[in-house]
């Protein structure tokens, strides 16, 4: 039963990723695109964790941790750049 639910939830997360892609392409401002990228990072982590449940492997969590770190750093760096116009002063 859990395998079927994992497949359904993967479909939902993929639909969420497509919606984020729409906002990434359309978004009127730069900040909208940053926000869409941040949400895409979160959805990608969800997809990888679902893959880990499906294959019963703990190997995927290392990748999820890496993606979480990169998402936080890149969003913060982009916001800092948009505020100050510079990263390292």
């Amino acid at each position: 039963m859990l395998n079927i639910v994992v497949m359904i939830v993967s479909g939902m997360v993929s639909l969420a990723l497509i919606l984020n892609l729409y906002r990434l392409l359309v978004g009127p401002d730069v900040l909208d695109r940053v926000l869409a990228l941040d949400t895409m990072y979160i959805n990608a982590i969800a997809l990888i964790v679902l893959l880990g449940i499906y294959f019963r492997s703990a190997l995927y969590f290392e990748g999820a941790l890496l993606i979480a770190l990169l998402g936080f750093i890149s969003s913060t760096a982009l916001c800092k750049f948009l505020i100050r116009g510079d990263l390292i002063e």
């Binding site: 039963m1 859990l2 639910v5 994992v6 359904i8 939830v9 939902m12 997360v13 639909l15 969420a16 990723l17 919606l19 984020n20 729409y22 906002r23 009127p28 401002d29 900040l31 909208d32 940053v34 926000l35 869409a36 941040d38 949400t39 979160i42 959805n43 982590i45 969800a46 964790v49 679902l50 880990g52 449940i53 019963r56 703990a58 969590f61 290392e62 999820a64 941790l65 979480a68 770190l69 936080f72 969003s75 913060t76 916001c79 800092k80 948009l82 505020i83």
Partner: protein
């Protein structure tokens, strides 16, 4: 694994998926950036928390036990989501992004913007609203 446990895990996982989808629908449907910040930072964080909870319980119940990186991902996401949302709200205030006409108390925007950086001039000639 017992059928009841599997059913509970399935319901939790479906709820997490619904929250993730709701966050992304909110990102598309809401009208200005200040509203759009709400949907992914709250709903998606709850959704990913539920998915990670299901994954942790599943790892405990099956063969190889709970790994440390799973807890690390959960803790890291729950710490960093508010920080990112705060940084983005600061950036939106700083850039004077367009807001909805019927937003209440519009003078508070300028006040909050000046509180972020008191050295800014009142009228920024580059970034006119």
């Amino acid at each position: 694994m017992a059928t009841l446990t599997e059913a509970i895990l399935s319901i939790l996982l479906l709820t997490g998926g619904i929250f993730l989808l709701a966050g992304s629908i909110g990102l598309v449907r809401l009208q200005d950036i200040y509203m759009r910040l709400h949907a992914p930072t709250k709903a998606s964080t709850l959704g990913i928390g539920l998915v990670l909870l299901v994954s942790a319980i599943y790892a405990i119940l099956t063969d190889d036990g709970l790994s440390i990186s799973e807890l690390l991902v959960t803790a890291f996401l729950f710490f960093t989501a508010p920080i990112t949302a705060h940084m983005m709200a600061k950036t939106a205030l700083h850039q004077r992004l367009k807001r909805l006409e019927r937003t209440q108390n519009p003078d508070l925007f300028e006040k909050a913007r000046l509180r972020l950086n008191p050295n800014l001039p009142l009228e920024d000639p580059v970034n006119k609203p």
